[in-house]
Symmetry: C2
Subunit: 164 residues, 2 copies
Protein backbone atom coordinates (compact mmCIF):
# COMPACT_ATOMS: atom_id res chain seq x y z
CA UNK A 1 0.00 0.00 0.00
CA UNK A 2 1.37 3.43 -0.85
CA UNK A 3 1.70 6.24 1.65
CA UNK A 4 -1.13 8.03 -0.16
CA UNK A 5 -3.46 5.12 0.44
CA UNK A 6 -2.39 4.92 4.09
CA UNK A 7 -3.09 8.62 4.53
CA UNK A 8 -6.77 8.11 3.70
CA UNK A 9 -9.31 7.81 6.50
CA UNK A 10 -9.28 4.21 7.78
CA UNK A 11 -11.30 2.20 10.27
CA UNK A 12 -9.12 3.44 13.12
CA UNK A 13 -9.93 7.08 12.25
CA UNK A 14 -13.71 6.75 12.50
CA UNK A 15 -14.84 8.04 15.89
CA UNK A 16 -18.15 6.69 17.17
CA UNK A 17 -20.46 9.61 17.96
CA UNK A 18 -18.45 12.30 16.13
CA UNK A 19 -20.56 13.56 13.22
CA UNK A 20 -19.40 14.36 9.69
CA UNK A 21 -21.10 17.47 8.30
CA UNK A 22 -20.99 18.09 4.57
CA UNK A 23 -23.10 18.82 1.51
CA UNK A 24 -24.20 21.70 -0.67
CA UNK A 25 -26.10 19.76 -3.38
CA UNK A 26 -28.44 22.02 -5.32
CA UNK A 27 -31.56 20.18 -6.51
CA UNK A 28 -32.87 21.28 -9.90
CA UNK A 29 -36.20 20.73 -11.61
CA UNK A 30 -34.34 19.34 -14.63
CA UNK A 31 -32.48 16.75 -12.61
CA UNK A 32 -35.73 15.74 -10.86
CA UNK A 33 -37.40 15.23 -14.26
CA UNK A 34 -34.39 13.46 -15.76
CA UNK A 35 -34.02 10.93 -12.93
CA UNK A 36 -37.76 10.34 -12.75
CA UNK A 37 -38.12 9.74 -16.49
CA UNK A 38 -35.36 7.14 -16.29
CA UNK A 39 -36.25 5.38 -13.06
CA UNK A 40 -39.44 6.53 -11.33
CA UNK A 41 -41.96 8.14 -13.69
CA UNK A 42 -44.77 8.52 -11.16
CA UNK A 43 -46.88 11.59 -11.93
CA UNK A 44 -45.75 13.57 -8.87
CA UNK A 45 -42.13 13.36 -10.11
CA UNK A 46 -42.68 14.24 -13.77
CA UNK A 47 -45.78 16.43 -14.01
CA UNK A 48 -46.19 19.74 -12.13
CA UNK A 49 -49.98 19.75 -12.38
CA UNK A 50 -50.43 16.13 -11.31
CA UNK A 51 -47.95 16.75 -8.49
CA UNK A 52 -50.14 19.54 -7.06
CA UNK A 53 -52.99 17.04 -6.66
CA UNK A 54 -50.80 14.35 -5.09
CA UNK A 55 -50.14 13.57 -1.41
CA UNK A 56 -46.90 15.59 -1.61
CA UNK A 57 -48.73 18.68 -2.98
CA UNK A 58 -46.15 19.70 -5.57
CA UNK A 59 -43.26 18.42 -7.64
CA UNK A 60 -40.65 16.55 -5.63
CA UNK A 61 -37.68 14.30 -6.24
CA UNK A 62 -38.18 10.54 -6.37
CA UNK A 63 -37.22 8.95 -3.06
CA UNK A 64 -34.59 6.96 -4.95
CA UNK A 65 -33.26 10.12 -6.50
CA UNK A 66 -33.06 11.58 -2.99
CA UNK A 67 -30.99 8.56 -1.95
CA UNK A 68 -28.73 8.97 -4.99
CA UNK A 69 -28.15 12.67 -4.28
CA UNK A 70 -27.38 11.81 -0.67
CA UNK A 71 -24.90 9.17 -1.87
CA UNK A 72 -23.13 11.75 -4.03
CA UNK A 73 -22.79 14.09 -1.05
CA UNK A 74 -21.63 11.25 1.20
CA UNK A 75 -19.05 10.24 -1.41
CA UNK A 76 -17.71 13.78 -1.82
CA UNK A 77 -17.90 14.58 1.90
CA UNK A 78 -16.68 11.34 3.47
CA UNK A 79 -15.88 8.39 1.19
CA UNK A 80 -13.62 10.12 -1.35
CA UNK A 81 -10.83 10.43 1.20
CA UNK A 82 -11.64 7.18 3.00
CA UNK A 83 -10.42 3.63 2.34
CA UNK A 84 -14.03 2.56 1.90
CA UNK A 85 -14.96 -0.77 0.38
CA UNK A 86 -18.67 -0.49 -0.39
CA UNK A 87 -21.67 -1.50 1.66
CA UNK A 88 -23.83 -4.57 2.17
CA UNK A 89 -27.24 -3.17 3.01
CA UNK A 90 -29.53 -0.32 4.03
CA UNK A 91 -31.25 -0.74 7.35
CA UNK A 92 -33.80 2.02 6.92
CA UNK A 93 -34.71 5.10 4.89
CA UNK A 94 -37.40 7.57 5.95
CA UNK A 95 -38.61 10.27 3.56
CA UNK A 96 -39.99 12.79 6.02
CA UNK A 97 -40.55 15.83 3.78
CA UNK A 98 -40.49 16.15 -0.02
CA UNK A 99 -37.24 17.25 -1.65
CA UNK A 100 -38.16 20.15 -3.95
CA UNK A 101 -36.50 22.01 -6.82
CA UNK A 102 -34.06 24.63 -5.47
CA UNK A 103 -33.45 22.83 -2.21
CA UNK A 104 -29.78 22.88 -1.29
CA UNK A 105 -29.07 19.64 0.54
CA UNK A 106 -26.61 19.04 3.34
CA UNK A 107 -26.09 16.07 5.59
CA UNK A 108 -24.87 14.95 8.97
CA UNK A 109 -23.56 11.39 9.31
CA UNK A 110 -22.65 9.80 12.60
CA UNK A 111 -21.06 6.43 13.21
CA UNK A 112 -23.11 4.74 15.91
CA UNK A 113 -21.22 1.45 16.10
CA UNK A 114 -18.08 -0.04 14.55
CA UNK A 115 -16.36 -3.41 14.57
CA UNK A 116 -13.76 -5.40 12.66
CA UNK A 117 -15.02 -8.48 10.78
CA UNK A 118 -13.84 -11.54 12.67
CA UNK A 119 -13.34 -13.52 9.46
CA UNK A 120 -11.55 -10.62 7.69
CA UNK A 121 -9.38 -8.63 10.10
CA UNK A 122 -8.50 -6.12 7.35
CA UNK A 123 -12.13 -5.05 6.94
CA UNK A 124 -14.08 -2.90 9.39
CA UNK A 125 -17.82 -2.24 9.39
CA UNK A 126 -19.23 1.11 10.45
CA UNK A 127 -22.92 1.47 11.18
CA UNK A 128 -24.06 5.01 10.31
CA UNK A 129 -27.02 7.27 10.97
CA UNK A 130 -27.52 9.95 8.33
CA UNK A 131 -29.73 13.04 8.44
CA UNK A 132 -30.39 15.10 5.31
CA UNK A 133 -31.51 18.74 5.60
CA UNK A 134 -32.30 21.57 3.19
CA UNK A 135 -30.98 25.15 3.39
CA UNK A 136 -33.74 25.98 5.89
CA UNK A 137 -32.52 23.25 8.26
CA UNK A 138 -35.66 21.21 7.67
CA UNK A 139 -35.01 17.51 8.20
CA UNK A 140 -36.04 15.86 4.91
CA UNK A 141 -34.75 12.32 5.15
CA UNK A 142 -33.00 9.96 7.53
CA UNK A 143 -31.10 6.79 6.72
CA UNK A 144 -29.30 4.03 8.55
CA UNK A 145 -26.77 1.83 6.84
CA UNK A 146 -23.35 0.24 7.17
CA UNK A 147 -20.23 0.47 5.08
CA UNK A 148 -16.98 -1.45 4.87
CA UNK A 149 -13.70 0.36 5.43
CA UNK A 150 -10.12 -0.89 5.44
CA UNK A 151 -8.32 -1.39 8.74
CA UNK A 152 -4.93 0.39 8.58
CA UNK A 153 -3.12 -2.05 10.85
CA UNK A 154 -5.02 -5.32 10.88
CA UNK A 155 -4.41 -7.73 13.75
CA UNK A 156 -3.54 -11.32 12.76
CA UNK A 157 -6.67 -13.43 12.17
CA UNK A 158 -7.92 -15.02 15.39
CA UNK A 159 -10.63 -17.20 13.86
CA UNK A 160 -9.16 -20.48 15.14
CA UNK A 161 -8.66 -19.20 18.63
CA UNK A 162 -12.14 -17.72 18.77
CA UNK A 163 -13.61 -21.10 17.91
CA UNK A 164 -11.93 -22.88 20.81
CA UNK B 1 -62.78 10.16 -10.79
CA UNK B 2 -63.05 8.83 -14.34
CA UNK B 3 -63.81 5.24 -15.20
CA UNK B 4 -60.25 4.91 -16.46
CA UNK B 5 -58.87 5.87 -13.06
CA UNK B 6 -61.31 3.50 -11.34
CA UNK B 7 -60.16 0.66 -13.60
CA UNK B 8 -56.63 0.90 -12.25
CA UNK B 9 -55.49 -1.46 -9.52
CA UNK B 10 -56.67 -0.10 -6.17
CA UNK B 11 -56.17 -1.06 -2.54
CA UNK B 12 -59.01 -3.57 -2.74
CA UNK B 13 -57.27 -5.41 -5.62
CA UNK B 14 -54.01 -6.08 -3.78
CA UNK B 15 -54.05 -9.64 -2.45
CA UNK B 16 -51.81 -10.36 0.52
CA UNK B 17 -49.48 -13.24 -0.34
CA UNK B 18 -50.11 -13.22 -4.11
CA UNK B 19 -46.83 -12.26 -5.83
CA UNK B 20 -46.40 -9.92 -8.79
CA UNK B 21 -43.73 -11.19 -11.20
CA UNK B 22 -42.27 -8.78 -13.73
CA UNK B 23 -39.07 -7.35 -15.13
CA UNK B 24 -36.67 -7.80 -18.04
CA UNK B 25 -34.31 -4.88 -17.32
CA UNK B 26 -31.00 -5.32 -19.17
CA UNK B 27 -28.08 -3.83 -17.24
CA UNK B 28 -25.37 -2.25 -19.38
CA UNK B 29 -21.80 -1.26 -18.63
CA UNK B 30 -22.58 2.23 -19.95
CA UNK B 31 -25.51 2.74 -17.63
CA UNK B 32 -23.44 1.48 -14.68
CA UNK B 33 -20.73 4.03 -15.49
CA UNK B 34 -23.19 6.84 -16.16
CA UNK B 35 -25.09 6.42 -12.88
CA UNK B 36 -21.88 5.96 -10.89
CA UNK B 37 -20.24 9.07 -12.34
CA UNK B 38 -23.30 11.10 -11.37
CA UNK B 39 -24.06 9.66 -7.95
CA UNK B 40 -21.62 7.04 -6.64
CA UNK B 41 -18.13 7.29 -8.16
CA UNK B 42 -16.51 4.63 -5.98
CA UNK B 43 -13.73 2.84 -7.88
CA UNK B 44 -15.57 -0.50 -8.13
CA UNK B 45 -18.40 1.24 -10.02
CA UNK B 46 -16.33 3.31 -12.47
CA UNK B 47 -13.02 1.51 -13.04
CA UNK B 48 -12.75 -2.09 -14.32
CA UNK B 49 -9.23 -2.62 -12.99
CA UNK B 50 -9.92 -1.18 -9.54
CA UNK B 51 -13.12 -3.21 -9.43
CA UNK B 52 -11.17 -6.48 -9.89
CA UNK B 53 -9.21 -5.71 -6.71
CA UNK B 54 -12.30 -4.75 -4.70
CA UNK B 55 -14.46 -6.86 -2.37
CA UNK B 56 -16.94 -7.38 -5.23
CA UNK B 57 -14.20 -8.70 -7.58
CA UNK B 58 -15.31 -6.93 -10.75
CA UNK B 59 -17.37 -4.04 -12.02
CA UNK B 60 -20.87 -3.86 -10.55
CA UNK B 61 -23.74 -1.40 -10.34
CA UNK B 62 -23.93 1.00 -7.42
CA UNK B 63 -26.35 -0.27 -4.80
CA UNK B 64 -28.38 2.90 -5.34
CA UNK B 65 -28.41 2.28 -9.07
CA UNK B 66 -29.68 -1.23 -8.33
CA UNK B 67 -32.51 0.31 -6.30
CA UNK B 68 -33.29 2.74 -9.13
CA UNK B 69 -33.40 -0.06 -11.74
CA UNK B 70 -35.67 -2.05 -9.43
CA UNK B 71 -37.93 0.99 -9.07
CA UNK B 72 -38.22 1.28 -12.85
CA UNK B 73 -39.21 -2.38 -13.10
CA UNK B 74 -41.68 -2.00 -10.23
CA UNK B 75 -43.19 1.06 -11.89
CA UNK B 76 -43.58 -0.66 -15.25
CA UNK B 77 -44.69 -3.97 -13.76
CA UNK B 78 -46.99 -2.85 -10.95
CA UNK B 79 -47.40 0.88 -10.30
CA UNK B 80 -48.13 2.09 -13.84
CA UNK B 81 -51.58 0.50 -13.76
CA UNK B 82 -52.15 1.10 -10.05
CA UNK B 83 -53.65 4.08 -8.24
CA UNK B 84 -50.41 4.43 -6.28
CA UNK B 85 -49.61 7.52 -4.25
CA UNK B 86 -45.91 7.23 -3.47
CA UNK B 87 -44.20 5.77 -0.45
CA UNK B 88 -43.01 6.98 2.95
CA UNK B 89 -39.98 4.82 3.69
CA UNK B 90 -37.79 1.82 3.00
CA UNK B 91 -37.59 -0.72 5.78
CA UNK B 92 -34.60 -2.64 4.48
CA UNK B 93 -32.43 -3.27 1.42
CA UNK B 94 -29.94 -6.15 1.19
CA UNK B 95 -27.43 -6.30 -1.67
CA UNK B 96 -26.65 -10.01 -1.67
CA UNK B 97 -24.74 -10.40 -4.94
CA UNK B 98 -23.27 -7.76 -7.25
CA UNK B 99 -25.37 -6.65 -10.22
CA UNK B 100 -23.10 -6.95 -13.28
CA UNK B 101 -23.15 -5.69 -16.87
CA UNK B 102 -25.38 -7.92 -19.02
CA UNK B 103 -27.53 -9.09 -16.13
CA UNK B 104 -31.19 -9.12 -17.10
CA UNK B 105 -33.14 -8.29 -13.97
CA UNK B 106 -36.53 -9.53 -12.94
CA UNK B 107 -38.43 -9.21 -9.70
CA UNK B 108 -41.06 -10.77 -7.51
CA UNK B 109 -43.03 -8.52 -5.17
CA UNK B 110 -45.41 -9.78 -2.55
CA UNK B 111 -47.72 -7.78 -0.32
CA UNK B 112 -47.23 -9.10 3.21
CA UNK B 113 -49.62 -6.79 5.01
CA UNK B 114 -52.14 -4.10 4.09
CA UNK B 115 -54.33 -1.65 5.94
CA UNK B 116 -56.29 1.54 5.39
CA UNK B 117 -55.02 4.66 7.15
CA UNK B 118 -57.36 5.43 10.00
CA UNK B 119 -56.94 9.18 9.55
CA UNK B 120 -57.35 9.00 5.72
CA UNK B 121 -59.88 6.34 4.74
CA UNK B 122 -59.14 6.94 1.02
CA UNK B 123 -55.50 5.89 1.40
CA UNK B 124 -54.28 2.32 1.87
CA UNK B 125 -50.78 1.21 2.82
CA UNK B 126 -49.28 -1.99 1.43
CA UNK B 127 -46.17 -3.45 2.98
CA UNK B 128 -44.15 -5.27 0.31
CA UNK B 129 -41.31 -7.77 0.14
CA UNK B 130 -39.35 -7.60 -3.11
CA UNK B 131 -36.82 -10.08 -4.49
CA UNK B 132 -34.63 -9.17 -7.48
CA UNK B 133 -33.04 -11.93 -9.60
CA UNK B 134 -30.89 -12.09 -12.71
CA UNK B 135 -31.50 -14.30 -15.78
CA UNK B 136 -29.79 -17.21 -13.98
CA UNK B 137 -32.32 -16.99 -11.11
CA UNK B 138 -29.64 -15.83 -8.70
CA UNK B 139 -31.13 -13.73 -5.92
CA UNK B 140 -29.24 -10.42 -6.08
CA UNK B 141 -31.14 -8.09 -3.81
CA UNK B 142 -34.09 -8.03 -1.44
CA UNK B 143 -36.07 -5.05 -0.23
CA UNK B 144 -38.93 -4.31 2.12
CA UNK B 145 -40.96 -1.15 1.85
CA UNK B 146 -44.46 0.25 1.90
CA UNK B 147 -46.45 2.24 -0.61
CA UNK B 148 -49.64 4.23 -0.54
CA UNK B 149 -52.48 3.25 -2.84
CA UNK B 150 -55.95 4.73 -3.29
CA UNK B 151 -58.95 2.92 -1.83
CA UNK B 152 -61.63 2.53 -4.54
CA UNK B 153 -64.58 2.73 -2.19
CA UNK B 154 -63.48 4.45 1.01
CA UNK B 155 -65.60 3.94 4.12
CA UNK B 156 -66.68 7.10 5.95
CA UNK B 157 -64.03 8.30 8.44
CA UNK B 158 -64.41 6.63 11.84
CA UNK B 159 -61.77 8.62 13.71
CA UNK B 160 -64.17 9.88 16.37
CA UNK B 161 -65.68 6.49 17.02
CA UNK B 162 -62.30 4.79 17.21
CA UNK B 163 -61.23 7.24 19.87
CA UNK B 164 -64.12 6.47 22.16
Amino acid sequence: MTTDAQAKRHYEDIVVGAPFEYGGYRVTRNEIFEFAHAYDPQPHHIDEEAAKLSLVKGLCASGWHSCAMFMRMFYDGVLADSASMGGPAIDEVKWMKPIRPDHVLKARSTCVEKRVMRSRPAVGICKMKHEIFNQHDELLMTMENSFFIAVRNPAPAVGTEAQR
